[in-house]
Symmetry: C2
Subunit: 396 residues, 2 copies
């Protein structure tokens, strides 16, 4: 079937032609309740409910959903399907199950997550059950362990490089919106609020900062350590009580492991900037993330490895791993800083700032995010342990 | 045409069916002189001479040519063709022109290099015109500049990652024969000569060395800086007077730039071990290589760049580049050490040792190569400039 944009009516028809999916819904097509719940920037999402079950249907649009004049190749849905397939066995049940991918319709049909809500919304409503970050740490450890050179024969990573390097349309977004635009005047950056103009100008004139960003640009494109989610912010996570799921893997690319960690921590840290009374809560989540990530990664690597470090015995592997974790933490600090800045003054800012009770509070929160982000980027290479990162975040 | 192994007769027939190629030869098919000149480990190579010109025809065999029981996917010829196409414009005239690639016959038809000879043979016969290493330095600078993140929009490198990551059969050879086997007892390692047994045992028991090799294994697979030749030893270079050409790019992969540099310098250094009276000559070549590589790379990067360092002005780019060159030199030292060891005790050793006048000299030369190689691997990360590398090579 050649591609066309689905609506509730054509989706109903499409589902009737896919018996496996229809049988998950049960009943008759006319019984199915279909509603559009599109929330992200890029795609249309439908929830379909039948008497026996529900489905989530996500279709790529040929343009950015929230900016129709910005074309966006449909192919990104394929990379999301590939990412889900490449990581499913390792991360189950921390991601929705992919039931079907339609290559021509660029449509993913997957497990419907109800009554889950998006972590960012839950945080804003102060409704997230504490400890969710441990699940995310475990998720990152498991997904990168399944795909890295130090844990798998190199042919596994080579295949992933081959399969994901074509995902340039979305990687271009990362390169521009996270790694470049916020640090220079750029038409894609929304106009900054007046009270922040001098902060933004200073940041865009900060040469040492640009140098440090250059190092992170190089890390992102050169250090192909493992398969990344590539967009692991609090809007890419859904949860209900202690059931935490990672969604929206369309930015998947082989890259530095600290990129996934850094984006996640950056969004937690932004929340703490916007809601200073929740600093202790966020601090505990950050500690839970890193502790869970490192413990899970250490445990997984005990069960054998890949071509890298093949000559080393267990003692030496442990030492190499600790050095590796430190270098991941340095990347994490740097990418965390980038994310805090881009979500504050770049395209696609975060809703967390709506928590600020007054415009002055909001300006203060944003200023803190910009200052913290710059400090993280500038000092990333000096980080030796999580306390150093917490200190840079002023969360000690 | 389904694949079959060509001989002189079937190649003559195949050429008659390719008018463009036949016209380069001129005359009638029966006038063409065809001789097999296979020399490397993997392929059959024919030189075809007609009244108007010559062709070099290289066909992949389904097994290692010198070890028929070792199967080897034909697909490697495709990667060599892709490498030649990806780098031709940048490196011309330092590589033979590719005239035609037959995807079904896994056959490359290219410019015939006569009266060129292989650099390794020329070195052994003491017949290489000094200064050839400057051409190689320029070649490496040009090929990696055409393909790296710091010089091109990231989509260029992403496409190359997509096109070359499937070259796993030959990368597996690199991973095993260079990065792993020489450092452990392994059936692929030829039996060491008796006088070297204790040296080999010590090397295979050297835990700090294995740790340092582990770091290089990680660099090779993770640091995808640019498109590498992947097998840049003195047997992959042909020359006639000052006309220097790089051939045999079938190991091409995206990787750390220091890998190409290190393999080349490692083979020069091995030659100096085998022929100690030529140390000054080799030292001069090493200096010429590095000076030519760095000068050419600096000059090329003046004409604009890629997404990496896009925020930096010229002064800052120069500083970032100098740091980058130091890190390339550190990789170079490490991979140089690996190459010296694998070509001395691993599979596919080098003919340079035939220069040693007595068996005792040969043992001494090999011992020196092993000691130098270990020192380079262990101290690679301390290197700050070429003098440090020359000191490790005892060529100061």
């Amino acid at each position: 079937m050649p591609y066309f944009t689905l609506d509730t009516s054509s989706l109903r028809h499409w589902l009737t032609e896919h018996a496996d999916l229809a049988s998950r819904l049960g009943g008759n097509p006319e019984d199915w309740m279909i509603r559009e719940v599109s929330d992200g920037n890029l795609n249309t999402v439908f929830i379909v409910a039948g008497p026996d079950g529900q489905l989530c249907c996500k279709q790529a649009l040929p343009h950015v959903r929230v900016a129709p004049e910005w074309p966006m190749p449909l192919q990104r849905a394929l990379y999301e399907a590939r990412y889900m397939r490449a990581t499913a066995d390792a991360v189950r049940p921390a991601a929705p199950e992919l039931y079907f991918y339609d290559e021509e319709m660029f449509l993913l049909v997957m497990e419907c997550l109800t009554p889950h809500e998006v972590l960012r919304s839950a945080l804003i409503r102060d409704d997230a059950q504490p400890g969710f970050s441990a699940s995310i740490g475990q998720y990152v450890a498991r997904s990168v362990h399944a795909t890295s050179w130090i844990s798998r024969p190199f042919e596994v990573g080579s295949k992933l490089l081959e399969e994901f390097s074509g995902n340039t349309a979305l990687t271009r977004i990362t390169v521009d919106l996270i790694l470049t635009d916020p640090f220079r005047p750029c038409s894609r950056n929304p106009e900054a609020e007046a009270a922040l103009l001098s902060d933004v100008t200073a940041l865009q004139d900060n040469k040492p900062l640009h140098r440090a960003v250059g190092v992170l640009q190089d890390r992102f494109l050169t250090a192909r350590q493992a398969l990344l989610h590539g967009d692991l912010h609090t809007g890419s996570i859904m949860l209900h009580r202690d059931d935490v799921r990672v969604i929206d893997g369309e930015f998947a690319t082989m890259g530095p492991i600290g990129f996934d960690c850094g984006l996640y921590l950056g969004n937690l840290a932004l929340h703490a900037c916007a809601a200073p009374h929740k600093q202790d809560f966020i601090r505990t989540e950050i500690i839970a993330f890193w502790s869970s990530f490192t413990n899970e990664f250490r445990a997984l690597l005990k069960t054998g490895g890949g071509d890298v470090w093949a000559l080393s015995d267990e003692t030496q592997r442990e030492e190499l791993l600790e050095n590796f974790l430190t270098s991941i933490l340095q990347d994490t600090a740097g990418f965390c800083g980038l994310e805090m800045i881009r979500r504050t003054i770049g395209f696609a800012q975060v809703a967390d700032y709506t928590l600020c009770p007054t415009p002055e509070n909001r300006t203060q929160a944003r200023r803190k995010a910009l200052q913290t982000g710059q400090r993280l980027i500038l000092d990333a290479s000096t980080v030796q342990n999580l306390s150093d990162v917490l200190a840079l975040l002023t969360l000690v």
